[in-house]
């Protein structure tokens, strides 16, 4: 399974980003090979609809699940249509969240917010 996590930097010691749609990078973690790669988020500079564009990138990268502190409703609609699972982060540590995922201890993300539409949230 391939999992995407929004992160602040291209390093394994980086923190989870507060925003799904406007995060600078995604960490793509493969639970089978245990390998990680980083993906640039081209949606970060979007005037609007960043969540939709970011979710499209995730779908196109054949991701099976995302782990994120929060997610807007438009992005969530794209991800859910593509049958991508949404997990909620337990804290800001990338390692902790990957461990929790491997242990099956990550909660499902339930509270989808109405979107920030360019006003704060990050």
């Amino acid at each position: 399974m391939k999992v995407a996590i929004p992160v602040d930097d291209k390093s394994m010691s980086t923190n989870v980003s507060q925003s799904f749609g406007r995060t600078p990078y995604y960490l793509i973690y493969d639970t089978d090979s245990k390998k990680s790669v980083f993906l640039d988020n081209s949606a970060i500079a979007s005037q609007g609809g960043a969540g939709i564009k970011a979710a499209q990138t995730i779908v196109d990268s054949n991701i099976n699940a995302i782990i994120t502190p929060q997610c807007g409703e438009n992005a969530a609609e794209v991800l859910k249509t593509a049958n991508i699972k949404l997990y909620k982060t337990i804290n800001f540590s990338v390692q902790d969240n990957i461990c929790a995922l491997n242990d099956g201890k990550l909660p499902i993300l339930e509270d989808i917010h109405p979107g920030f539409h360019g006003h704060g949230g990050n």
């Binding site: 949606a43 609809g49 779908v59 593509a82």
Partner: protein, 285 residues
Amino acid sequence: MKVAVLSGKGGTGKTLVSVNLASVAKESLYIDCDVEEPNGHLFFKPKNYASESIEVKIPFSDEKLCSGCRKCVEFCKFNALAFIINKVIVFDNVCHSCGGCILLCPEQAFAEKDKLIGKVQYGVSENVTVMTGVLNPGESSGVPIIKKLLQDIVSGPELIIIDCPPGSACIVMESIKDADYCILVAEPTLFGVHNLNLVYELVKLFKKPHGVILNKCVEGENPAEKFCLEKDIKVIGKIPFDGGLGTLNSNALISVRENKKYHDLFASILQVVTKEGSYETVTNP
């Protein structure tokens, strides 16, 4: 003469200026283009005689015709489209109805449906005809409503006051497009100068004759006035930071209809606007 009233941020006094200038004229048309939060009608309390729904076209894709080329998804500047499991999804609330996806689609897979986004109201308040644009909450753009307001301008009143939305974005550009003169309302603070500069840049870009009304003036230094001096912008009026004016305004009363002092204040500003506007129209056709 069409006079647009604008400012870089909300709460500087656009509606105060617009409503009072419209009321102090013998006869006028007041158009509320601040469609996200129109509140001119709270002052005018117009007797509405008509209302019209405003609809826009939203595209939808026929998955049987779609080849999955994604030209539409890549084109959409607003990211209103996504291509998921061989299907184009359109986000109605993000779509700006530009029609680009329909034009670009090589398979002609798109058709359009109507979507209600708001309304335009027509009313009368004594000497003022009042037109109000209302955008429903959550919609992406008020531009179609402003287009309708400005295209429907009733002939008759010589003075037309366009109460603009705050800022300098698309909806403001649409509101001032056909204006003969622009009034920039400014607050006497450094933040006020920053906001004034936004709309000043905009009216310069549009080559519109313009002047500044300094609102909430107090004793002492006024950074907005200093800015006008530096940039050689004409100050066409000063409104004092005045408890009486504030009280009338916060009670949704039109000051020029209540008090002779304020009547004279706005009458003298209107005189300058009329002179500046017609003078500029002659020299800058």
